[in-house]
Every structure is written in structure tokens, then in C-alpha cells.
């Protein structure tokens, strides 16, 4: 996973440098005009990817040695006069990964820095973080939800049809159809929501509702309820990058709406395509292995 991200960083750094556009967001929007499709809409077609640590934790976070840590005993004594104080060790389940399994630091993508949880929800988020290995739906290859699908460490493709925009994500083959035409309401809650889009100048604005309460926002336990509404803004900033904003509203979990913001980078490799990350078969042993009597590796009884 880390090798993946590093490989992409190289490409994107070159792309952004080439564009002479080393700004994160904001000021370029007024100046840059996106190319147009044949029917006159801003052209966002292409393969895009986030290059940040938002999927580890939306908030600013220091580096740490593993996604799941064993809680350490509290410190005591005078620093420097006693034996080195207890440290948080990687959970044995992730320890063999060593430096590969560490979490890189990040400045955070939440505008204003804090996620305005209601008190009960802040406690649940902390509990989710402690139980990450058991609870994160990403581990089970479940559909990632919105906005998490955008900043998973996998590319996604925007495909602009004449009245539907498909957003095809590499992770788990998840897909959203953004209805640019008028459609009825969603018949039921869903993992990826029900998305309606419109153009605001060069910005694609997508309002998504009808989520279930199963998806998370990151690997740090950030979560929502079935009252979630996400308003996303995709604003082109150069041929090679756009600004992505997602405003989260969920009165059951948060005290007010809050927003994340990050650049997304175009994957500029020639003939770049989304590849399969069909992870269902990667997690079957984890999810169902204990129910079998035949070892899937040998076809025999163990």
C-alpha cells in the first residue's frame, strides 16, 4: 500500500510542477477555466487520486507505529530519572509489518481542524479507533461510502455521460452514478448513497443522501449515522489537479456541518486505466474461514 502511494506521489509532483501550479487550492479557481466537453460542460473526465493521509485520519495526526496499538501503562516518575517510560506497541496482529505497517503523519484535511462530534459520538469514535481491527469496514472489503471513497489510496475515474456521471472507484469496484437529470428518490438506504449533481460555474456540485450507517470516514474510527448528507464540490484548478471539498451534515452525530478539503491529482501516465481491486476474495478466509472444515489452501481437512 505504501509503495503504491509513493509511486503515485512521484508522478503527481512532476505533474503539478509541470503545470507551474504549486498551490493547494483556492486562489487559482478564479483564474483557471476548465476545458469544455462537446456539450459545453466543464470537462472533469479522467483518473484522479488523493495524495494525503486522510484515510488514516481526517484530523492532523503524528506518525505512529501501527494502525492498531496496544494501550501502554501510564507514565510515572521523573522523566530522565527512571527507566524509559512505557510505549504503545503495535498490536501483535499488525506487528510483523514493521515499518510497512506504520501510519504516516498528516496535517489533516478538516477545515478548522476539529470534527464537531456530539459528546456521545466523540466517545464512540474513540471506541471505534480502539476496536479498529474489528470494526473498520475497509478491512472487510465493504463499499467505502462517501466521501471516503475519494481519498482511499486508490485511483478513481470520472466518466461524464450526457445525463449521468459515473464515478468508478478502484477499491472494491465501488461505483456511484451521479444523476445530472431529474430522478426520483432513493428506494432505500445504501452504502454509496444517492447522488444528484449540478454545475456551479466550473464546479461539479454533488449532493448525496440515503446512506446507511455502516461506512466510516477513515481508519481512525470517524463515523456517521443514516442521517448523513454529503455535499461535494469538485473544482478544477489546472489541467492536472482539482480542489475537492465535502461538507458533512449529520444532526444525529455532529453539532454542526463541517468540511474537509484537499487537492486531487490527475493520473497522467499514458493510457492509465483503473485496474481491479476485487478484494472480496481477499477477505473470505478472514470472514468465513472459521466456518469451514476444509482448508481452502489444500482442499483437505486440516
Amino acid at each position: 500500500m505504501r509503495a503504491r502511494i509513493l509511486g503515485v506521489i512521484g508522478v503527481a509532483v512532476i505533474a503539478v510542477a509541470a503545470a507551474g501550479c504549486n498551490r493547494q487550492s483556492g486562489s487559482a479557481a478564479a483564474e483557471y477555466r476548465a476545458p469544455r466537453t462537446a456539450d459545453g460542460k466543464p470537462d472533469l473526465n479522467g483518473i484522479w487520486q488523493a495524495l494525503n493521509t486522510a484515510n488514516f485520519d481526517l484530523r492532523a495526526h503524528p506518525a505512529r507505529p501501527g494502525l492498531s496499538l496496544l494501550p501502554a501503562a501510564g507514565r510515572s516518575g521523573v522523566p530522565g530519572l527512571v527507566r524509559a517510560t512505557p510505549v504503545e506497541l503495535p498490536d501483535p496482529a499488525v506487528r510483523p509489518f514493521g515499518a510497512v505497517g506504520g501510519v504516516p503523519a498528516g496535517e489533516g484535511v478538516v477545515v478548522g481542524g476539529e470534527i464537531p462530534y456530539q459528546p456521545w459520538a466523540a466517545a464512540k469514535r474513540d471506541e471505534n479507533a480502539r476496536e479498529w481491527l474489528k470494526r473498520d469496514p475497509e478491512i472487510k472489503c465493504f463499499m467505502p461510502g462517501v466521501p471516503r471513497a475519494t481519498y482511499l489510496p486508490y485511483p478513481f475515474q470520472i466518466l461524464q455521460g450526457t445525463n449521468k456521471i459515473v464515478v468508478a472507484y478502484e477499491f472494491a469496484g465501488a461505483t456511484r452514478t451521479i444523476h445530472m437529470d431529474t430522478v426520483g428518490d432513493s428506494p432505500s438506504p445504501s452504502w454509496m448513497g444517492w447522488s444528484r449533481g449540478r454545475w456551479d460555474g466550473d464546479t461539479l456540485v454533488v449532493e448525496s443522501t440515503d446512506f446507511n450507517e455502516e461506512t466510516w470516514f477513515d481508519r481512525a474510527g470517524d463515523f456517521h449515522s443514516d442521517a448523513l448528507k454529503v455535499t461535494e464540490r469538485f473544482t478544477p484548478q489546472s489541467p492536472y489537479h482539482l480542489t475537492y471539498e465535502a461538507t458533512i451534515e449529520d444532526p444525529k452525530v455532529f453539532t454542526r456541518p463541517w468540511t474537509i478539503r484537499m487537492p486531487l491529482y490527475r493520473r497522467v501516465e499514458p493510457d492509465k486505466q483503473l485496474l481491479e481491486y476485487k478484494c472480496v476474495e481477499f477477505v473470505e478466509e478472514l470472514m468465513y474461514g472459521q466456518l469451514g472444515v476444509i482448508d481452502p489452501a489444500t482442499g483437505r481437512r486440516p
Binding site: L159, G161, V166, V183, M192, P270, D271, L274, Y288, G289
Partner: protein
């Protein structure tokens, strides 16, 4: 980026060519003219579904002939009309809910019947089989593949279920494969086609199967995948898609083995709209691992009304059936003293 610019030039050229040729275009029967996208490609967009019930392989009773007689077509139409009438009258439910498995007319398929939606009447066509080549309308399995298919059929809905590898790929929420993607009808077989410059995307409702097919002259990337590497071209108004570089999944259980990918599988498809709501879809399947020779199926596809939507098929996320199948397998084995 160079490719993008070339694409843009090509798109403009195509649009001009389309505008020039539009006037000279021959309308199909009924005055229908193939619509074009704003960038000049034939427009195949919409939700499409196979709505007939033509056997894949020709049944023995039709040996030697490829088409039904007019009388046979009329009889089938009457059956469909009667079924539609009884569906509308609410009588359909009486056919299900038998007291035990032996009484069930759909033995082994009770689970699927729960999901199946016959909400629109089936279309009646003259074809006696979807397979039109070889001439006998039968899939030319190799002798080993015939045995494998017989084994797959015997296992389907019957087990055993001793590990998660025992259910078929569909029950595992993986896929039923590319081969049957456009025409697996009743069980969520809706396909939305969305086009963007240089791409045709097919969203298949069941299993959330998705194909993003480049139609821009590129070569296959060579990374083996469940859905292989698809590349498309336009031949007039026909979308021609060739798919190679499949990953080998012949060791998995498939409900029917003609759908399984292997490294030697090669699929060629032709999508040709023949009217506002009709498409002639043809698929040629070659794979020496499974078939003696290439075979071709011709499949009539229907375009559903413009407001048709497809929905999220969260299969893996809610796959309680896998847990229940395996737990049931354990209970069953315990009862039999194994």
C-alpha cells in the same frame, strides 16, 4: 497528456464526420436513425436488459432448426400473455411456498426465486437457441469440460458446503463473469451503458459488475484480471469489444462453466442498436481450455424506459447466505454423523 490532445482532435474530427454523414444516413425500419453522442460516437446509452427466455443451447426438440414456426411463436406469445395476466391478477404467489422441497417445482432454486423479478413480460423471438454458431446451437465443450459442467450442475444448490470455496462465484458475491454479463436476465440483469469521450462504461446491477471499456485505440495493458483487458472500436454504428488477459479462475466453482475466465479465454462482442429500444448483441467466446472451437451467441436486448434506474447491489456486504450455507453444512454433517 499528448494522448489527450490527440483524442480531442480525433473527437472533433469524428464530430465533423458524424455531422457530414448524418444527412446521408439510412434510417432503419420505422424511420429510426442511430443517435450520436455530442462528440459523435453512436449513442448506446440507457438501461438495457435481456428480456427473452431463449435457451442458451438448442433443446433436443428443436434439433435441426434455428427458428420457431409462426404457430410456435404464437403459442409462446399466448403463454407469456397469460402469465402477464395472472401476474397482474396477483396469482403468481400461489406457485411458490410449497410445503417441502420435493413438492417444489424449482428444486434447488428457491433461494434465487426470492430475488428474481419477472416484472415485465418476456419478449418472444423466433430463435430456438441463443447459440447460433456452431450450427447445432450447442456449446462445443471439450470432453473434460463436459464432465466439469455436469459436476457444476449437480453441485449447484446442493453443495457440499465445507469451505467458502464451495459455493459458486455468484454466491460468494464475486461475479458470474463477463460472458453472461449482458444477458443474465431475471436476477438484477439490468445494464446501464454510459458513454464519455473514449470510453464506454457498462454498469451491471448484479454484483455491481462494472466494465470501463476504452474505445480510443489503445492496446490491452496486459495485467490479468477477472474481467480481462477490454478494448473497443467502432465499426460504423457497431461497438466491437475484444477482451483478453483474463485471470485463471477455473479452479473456482461456477454455476455453469461456460462463464468462467481462464488465461486462454478471448471474448469478442458486437453491440449494434437496431432501433430506439432494441439491440442486437453478439458474443463470440474462444477458449481451448473449455471449448473445442469458438462459439457465438446472438442475444436480443431491450432498452428500458428512460427513467429506469439501477440500484446498489450490496451483495458481499450483506452475504448472510455464506455464513448460513456453511453453518447449515456443519449442522447437516452433524446430523448425518460425519
Amino acid at each position: 497528456m499528448k494522448n489527450r490532445h490527440l483524442l480531442a482532435v480525433a473527437a472533433v474530427a469524428a464530430a465533423v464526420a458524424a455531422a457530414v454523414s448524418a444527412a446521408a444516413q439510412q434510417p432503419a425500419a420505422g424511420g429510426w436513425v442511430q443517435p450520436k453522442t455530442p462528440w459523435g460516437d453512436p449513442d448506446l446509452q440507457g438501461v438495457w436488459r435481456y428480456e427473452a427466455s431463449i435457451p442458451l443451447e438448442r433443446p433436443a426438440q428443436f434439433q435441426g432448426r434455428a427458428a420457431l414456426t409462426d404457430d410456435e411463436v404464437a403459442q409462446r406469445q399466448k403463454v407469456e400473455d397469460d402469465q402477464e395476466a395472472s401476474r397482474l391478477a396477483g396469482a403468481e404467489g400461489k406457485a411458490v411456498g410449497r410445503g417441502n422441497l420435493d413438492q417444489s417445482p424449482i428444486r434447488g432454486n428457491e433461494y434465487n426465486s426470492f430475488w428474481q423479478d419477472h416484472g415485465r413480460p418476456r419478449q418472444v423471438y423466433k430463435q430456438t437457441s441463443l447459440v447460433i454458431d456452431p450450427a447445432d446451437g450447442r456449446i462445443p465443450y471439450t470432453p473434460d469440460a463436459k464432465k466439469a459442467e455436469a459436476r457444476a450442475q449437480a453441485r449447484y444448490g446442493a453443495g457440499p458446503y465445507e469451505s467458502f470455496l464451495d459455493p459458486d462465484t455468484g454466491e460468494r458475491c464475486l461475479t458470474d463473469g463477463v460472458t453472461a454479463l449482458m444477458w443474465q436476465g431475471p436476477n438484477g440483469g439490468h445494464n446501464r451503458i454510459v458513454q464519455s469521450p473514449g470510453y464506454v462504461t457498462v454498469l451491471h446491477e448484479e454484483y455491481l459488475d462494472r466494465r470501463v471499456i476504452p474505445v480510443d485505440g489503445r492496446q490491452p495493458h496486459g495485467v490479468r484480471q477477472w474481467f480481462g483487458n477490454a478494448v473497443g472500436t467502432w465499426e460504423g454504428n457497431t461497438l466491437v469489444v475484444t477482451t483478453t488477459n483474463f485471470i485463471d479462475r477455473t479452479n473456482y466453482e461456477w454455476a455453469s462453466i461456460f462463464m468462467r475466465p481462464s488465461e486462454t479465454l478471448r471474448i469478442s462482442e458486437r453491440y449494434t442498436r437496431t432501433g430506439a429500444s432494441t439491440m442486437d448483441y453478439r458474443i463470440t467466446v474462444e477458449d481451448p481450455t473449455t471449448f473445442e472451437r469458438a462459439w457465438t451467441a446472438q442475444i436480443p436486448i431491450t432498452r428500458l424506459p428512460d427513467d429506469t434506474l439501477i440500484y446498489e447491489y450490496a451483495c458481499h456486504e450483506g452475504n448472510y447466505a455464506m455464513t448460513n450455507l456453511l453453518a447449515g453444512g456443519r449442522t447437516d454433517a452433524a446430523k448425518r454423523g460425519r
